[in-house]
Subunit: 295 residues, 2 copies
């Protein structure tokens, strides 16, 4: 099977896992569940759960407890998208080619469904304790997810991004924003997969570094695509960075150097993974695809 | 020592515990930490962590692991207040006598600091695993917190409240809203304390029922005070329910029956606790005070 067919198959597998962990649309709070599920079933690359699962498999993981973590990962990511799209933050009407959650369900429900997804992620992760005897691994995986999501991770990066919106940015601050807003969840995904799969602390550090590089390359590629792509290809408006006078890697170091950085960072990540002497060809191809994607 | 002095002393104790678990205001995300801490240090009755601690003690709990759970409880509660106050939901300018978080830090930071507090609650709870050998109790306590916070608890109730804003409400829906929006966290507080203190499943069910009654009585008293109190006493605007044409217990069943319900519910709660044959006089006094408070 070629990479594209494998990717399609694995994405379908992940969609099934995600769907099995969604809240039921029933009872008085039916509409809240609908809003949560609307955004969770909007498609997307499912990159984070896929990286998690592939890293888990690379370390020999074969259990069921990865399922709730994959679902939780996507819930946390989706929570951040819903809240980012709110009028108070980016004020976006479209995401993944459909109306954003608050445009369909109203702003109050946008806030609450984002909250509910973040919280549900933890509810779902806690179920993993009953699916494996390896309690310490589940605790460690939850610690990683929590830290990388919060003030010392994604939400920290997001807050600095929002605070400096439209202001000139130094490179070190832009690095901080990218490392946290984007890389932190990629790190969480791969580290969680590694820990649950049985990685030791040294291997975990390597995975964290590799994932950090992948996340950064991914975000820079995002900046590049905002300039070079069309709205149809991306399923969301392009040139939004320019319109919003947003400082990005491309505006800060230029297109050429940005493209070179993507190349270098992804090579670095692959070399780090190589050093682990584990086998997962699909993971390598996936990383290549992600950082060099055209949409 | 009389009850009021004990209450003052215990509140001070709890303030110290809470403060010890707040994020440091440092680094690039300093302002996010400031916004989180602004709302966490705004005072308030600290009712939920206090109920948690007293229930823990009633079951003989003496460890340190209750600390992170108390802090997490207040973080979750504060998260909900920050988001409730947002323009998209209640659009309130004042809370506990001070400007609301989004009025001081901006709306985007209001969204993000609420998110960050909810997530930090889990980061903090996870620390409890290193503070006790009773891993299963910590897992069970976290499960309770997660369930009572989310779509099957507080956030579910909040979503139904928001959806039906200004609409006529049937009694069963109002019950659902109160049981979830308000009671769920009171239940979480007392159940978590009970579980960590060593309660068995039957005792836990009793605590859940008692806490449900206390929460309901507390919320009905809130409705009563909105009619009878002054803005100075409450530290927030009064008559807001009437102004917003909000259906409450008072508008639905009248002041007299509402007051009787508070009385009956609190008596029921105290009888349930009595049946456990444990001793905690302060907890009994606290419950009496809460449901009969004048502000």
């Amino acid at each position: 099977m070629n990479f594209q067919d494998k990717l399609t198959e694995k994405t379908k597998e992940i969609e099934d896992v995600l769907r099995s962990w969604l809240p039921e649309e029933t009872g008085f709070a039916k509409r809240l569940a609908e809003a949560m599920n609307y955004s969770m079933t909007a498609g997307g690359k499912r990159l984070r759960p896929m990286l998690m699962q592939e890293t888990y498999r690379m370390f020999g993981g074969e259990g069921e407890e990865i399922g709730p973590f994959m679902a939780a990962m996507e819930m946390i990511h989706t929570h951040s998208l819903i809240h980012d799209d709110l009028p108070a933050i980016d004020n976006d009407d479209y995401r993944r080619g459909r109306l954003t959650t608050h445009r369909v369900y109203g702003e109050a429900m946008g806030v609450l469904s984002g909250d509910a997804l973040l919280n549900y992620a933890y509810e779902v992760m806690l179920r993993a304790f009953s699916m494996t005897d390896r309690t310490q691994r589940v605790i460690r995986a939850m610690e990683i997810m929590a830290e990388k999501t919060g003030i010392h991770g994604m939400l920290g990066g997001q807050s600095v991004d929002v605070e400096n919106d439209g202001k000139p940015l130094e490179k070190d601050m832009l690095d901080y924003i990218y490392e946290n807003k984007t890389s932190a969840l990629i790190e969480a995904a791969m580290m969680t997969g590694a820990v649950l799969g049985g990685a030791d602390q040294e291997q975990l550090n390597t995975i964290e570094q590799a994932a950090g590089n992948i996340g950064l390359a991914f975000q820079i590629q995002d900046d590049i695509l905002d300039v070079t792509s069309t709205s149809e290809e991306l399923g969301k408006p392009v040139h939004s960075d320019e319109k919003n006078h947003k400082v990005t890697y491309v505006t800060l170091v230029g297109m050429e150097r940005a493209a070179r950085e993507v190349q270098e960072l992804s090579q670095k990540a692959l070399r780090l993974l190589d050093g682990l002497e584990k086998q997962n060809d699909f993971l390598y191809d996936l990383i290549q695809m992600l950082v060099h994607r055209r949409k």
